[in-house]
Symmetry: C3
Subunit: 429 residues, 3 copies
């Protein structure tokens, strides 16, 4: 960590700045007139039309607060969760803008930045943060920056293939972000498997860390309609994407709570389920979000996603860890993996039923492509991350901020004890 991290971070940023100086310019609103359709629609249904910038900011909150705080549930890894989330996302959005933009250069070889490009850059960032959840607590900042570069690059290829070559629908990105990010991260986690991390004492929460995580959960839950509608066609399609996501998430909450209570000891609720499975409805309705499936259809998808996700946390995750060597710290398989596949399948069915123009076969190819790129790309990335000189934390330092952060530790504990004793003394006096 001593020098590798600062050198890598500074080098990456300098290279990025140079690439930006070559490729990236402002959108001047003239040459880049591809959004003419938007103008037209916006006059038809102006009142209901969300502003792209407002949608961007909602997505931004999901990326930085949502993902960042969702991962603070670990008792001693909060600095890293929200701090490395900020680091990775800040780099990923720059890199993502380049990697997506290179597939769509303007005639003069430039990438013109507008709000939609910024939304897409945030989207590419989401894949990295999902994968980060799978390897949370077990990797160094250097390893994570390497994962960011590779994952965003591979994401860019798959996204281009799915959206432009296959022409598949995936407005809320169940396949190209959620399933891709989850299985990419799981492949990395499998390659980095370490038996000694099983039942690690720091791999758990305390009361207040679970509350911090709920900040992340609730912001993700609230703004998911913005995520799934941000790049939808303005007007009826976009409103449909908002509506479907809103109802899918609402139904998902009920089923996640019910199943959590059903499978837990004495009918209690489990914070891990509530923090995560309540969001599965947003993932699973992603591909179908702008399809005419009816509010009722969206609710069914969310309802099923909440059940699958909660059952996955309870029954599948332990099996993956113990039998397949897949240690999935945040359970991204349950929140993004299975619900992402469910979303992809729902999209195939919905397109086959004519709920949206498209080809069910192309939808299936898009799902297969996303899974294939994720698993192969993740495995290769994992192998590179496994090279011995990236400073991977030793087993006993995993899930612990103090290896990478100045933590107010001894002082805090002593102070807290001293404060306790002091107060007791005062009470006695």
């Amino acid at each position: 960590m001593r020098l590798k991290f600062p050198i890598l971070a500074l080098t990456l940023e300098i290279i990025t700045i140079i690439l930006f100086s070559v490729f990236v310019v402002y959108d001047d609103g003239e040459k880049h007139d591809g959004h003419g359709d938007h103008e037209h629609v916006s006059t038809v249904n102006h009142v209901q039309h969300p502003s792209p910038y407002a949608l961007f900011q909602d997505v931004h909150v999901m990326i930085f607060i949502g993902f960042g705080f969702l991962m603070t549930f670990l008792k001693r890894y909060g600095f890293s969760s929200v701090g490395l989330n900020l680091l990775l996302a800040a780099f990923a959005l720059q890199w993502g803008l380049l990697m997506q933009g290179l597939w769509h250069l303007d005639a003069d070889g430039k990438i013109r930045v507008d709000v939609f490009k910024m939304i897409n850059a945030d989207f590419s960032t989401a894949t990295v943060l999902i994968s980060f959840g799978a390897v949370l607590g077990k990797t160094s900042p250097v390893q994570l920056l390497i994962m960011t570069i590779l994952e965003i690059t591979i994401f860019g290829i798959n996204e281009h293939l799915v959206a432009n070559v296959l022409g598949a629908n995936d407005v809320g990105a169940s396949m190209i972000i959620h399933a891709f990010g989850a299985y990419f991260g799981l492949a990395v986690a499998r390659v980095l498997y370490r038996p000694a991390l099983r039942d690690h004492e720091n791999n758990g929460s305390v009361y207040h860390s679970d509350l911090f995580a709920m900040i992340g959960t609730v912001f993700l839950w609230m703004f998911w309609p913005s995520f799934n509608s941000a790049i939808a066609n303005p007007g009826a399609d976009q409103l449909m994407a908002v509506t479907n996501t809103y109802f899918s998430l609402a139904a998902c909450v009920l089923s996640a709570y019910a199943i959590s209570s059903l499978v837990e000891h004495k009918g209690k609720l489990d914070m891990v389920h509530i923090q995560n499975a309540t969001l599965a409805g947003g993932v699973a309705v992603g591909t179908c979000a702008d399809m005419n499936i009816g509010p009722f259809g969206a609710m069914l998808i969310g309802f099923v996603a909440g059940i699958i996700s909660t059952l996955g946390f309870k029954f599948l995750s332990p099996i993956l860890a113990s039998h397949l060597g897949i240690q999935d710290t945040c359970g991204v398989h349950n929140l993004h993996g299975m619900p992402g596949i469910l979303g992809g399948i729902a999209g195939i069915v919905a397109v086959a039923m004519g709920k949206k123009n498209g080809s069910a076969a192309m939808q299936a190819c898009a799902l297969a492509s996303s899974l294939g790129f994720a698993l192969v790309g993740g495995a290769i990335t994992g192998l590179i991350m496994k090279l011995p000189f990236w400073g991977q934390p030793p087993d006993q330092n995993c899930f612990d901020d103090s290896i990478y952060w100045e933590v107010p530790e001894e002082e805090e504990a002593e102070e807290s004890l001293a404060h306790g004793e002091h107060s007791t003394n005062k009470a006695e006096a």
Copy 2:
């Protein structure tokens, strides 16, 4: 809890999905052209015109982050506060959309969901969350789901009566949401009164739980102008609602702080007052928000509301608890009850003074109707909730997450002590 809660939650959600499949469709933007006026106004004053979707998201944040975290002030009830808030709100918004929509079915018997319907669904949710504050810590999830169904249904009736039959003004819903929700909850709390809960050891805060609660307070405070203006007529009226609420809240902060310091020991500030009474200005200016009362008038209302609310916490709440058997956990009487009535009265006066078209008599009827439905509806709901098979928590388990949640308790405390000792040892070594 073992089976009752999951069965009830799953059943309610399945029934809701079936009702949605019968009644709810997307707004296609064509048949439902009642918002033509909005189009017109938006061209007149486009720049200042907030987007309905942005207002919806602000309200959404108030409902899920604002109410959810405001109630996390209890030292051992944070999971339930933010978690049950999410559960109840997710169900309430579905049920609210149906209960409000059934009064306004389109010609083909359908409810067309648009952003305004979603805002109204969130509004109906607010009533339940206010009542939840009165009974916080003393009720089971099953009891709360039952309260949600009944309260939303009764709210729908009163809202229809006030808005459509009486034609009263209540743009920021001082009467139909705040006063209604508060007195409904207080009636429930009265019926569920348990003397043994007085001075319950868990009915208090710790340092960090008070900070979590401030997240709720500040988001409520910031976005209240959106709440009070969300369904105002776009243009001057809506801007007036924003402006009045903004200034009322600002003035309210000063008076709440001043009175808190004035009535507390040694001039200290009390977190309970700051968390709640600073918001009373938003409640009290609700009915008048889109009336031409002048920024100065709005500030006067907020100033008075901050005083009344703080005094209520200090002097009235203890009396209600000890003499009237009304245990109001969050003090909703002080934040929503009295300021809601103040708002209703201000509305009567303002309409009488011609600050808005309308009838002062109808305004008074609207206030009386809201209070009447709340008290009678709350009492009946309380009696139903009191039936012995809903799993009400025993006295000693009140205000404690561990009866309904898997709490990282023993582990946490031991870990924290062990960590402390460990550090001390390290310091000694």
Copy 3:
């Protein structure tokens, strides 16, 4: 505190309400037609056009959540940080609206409140909150209210001079808010210097207080593009301000993390740097935000700002405290002071290079004016605040909520210990 604070707060609010009754009216959208240009631009580039109200709400979140929680890093000063932030901001926005409005009275002697006036009121508030950071933990609420009145008044003069007399560019307010607020606060801190506060035991963080502070950091980081673009000309200029700020901040994160790791023991990251220096890019790009410096230029500014800010925390702040008697609790010199000057200089260079219409000399005068008013104004304000009857906290009570707040202290500590012992017993049993 006993009576001074409530009397001052009530008096200020009553005076403000009276001034509002004389001067402040709603914007009726007719007389006040200065925003006609906006209308025009908005039709050209409607889709990309952020709504002023959405920008206002983003800025509002920065002021109340961002600044408020950023300062909760202190272990025992969280109530004051977020609570006094709310108090000061609520008063400052009212006073700021008056102080700015008095320079621009309409023909009938009125101030017409619209969303832009509310944004500017929030802006003037930011200066006070920056200065608050410099004196955090060492001043009484009464002292802070006095500082608010004086600082806002002086800010109004300097803002009028810079914007209207000099005609300088400062869209993101690097000079008139950030540098001004920082050097004003530092001048106050210098006058209030108390040697006994060096290495005060309460002037530090605990684990969870650092996490609360990250809520502030991340919201500031995310919404800074809205801050820097809120009063830009709609259309291409505004989009440029968004884009430049977005990229400057992203680059700044990488350099702040790299330098933090480089200068700390064993390459660890320091939370103080991450909480603050990651934001320096937003400050430094402020003046240039709507200038045609290229995304690449914005990134360079952010990159340099992250380095300067981190180095300032590590090397300069200790020198200021030990040699110059400037105790800067939050390090505002590193986050707002030096990056603000950097932003002012970047603006001079950019205007000289023709990146924006204007005069480099006027830019330089604007920077000098902002620094001059800040230092002189701050020194005078500090002298007034030093008068012995404002209830300044004694040395041993600094950085401690319990002097001004009812804190759940003894109970909490005992409860926490008792809870720990109780659990241990349970585990033993």
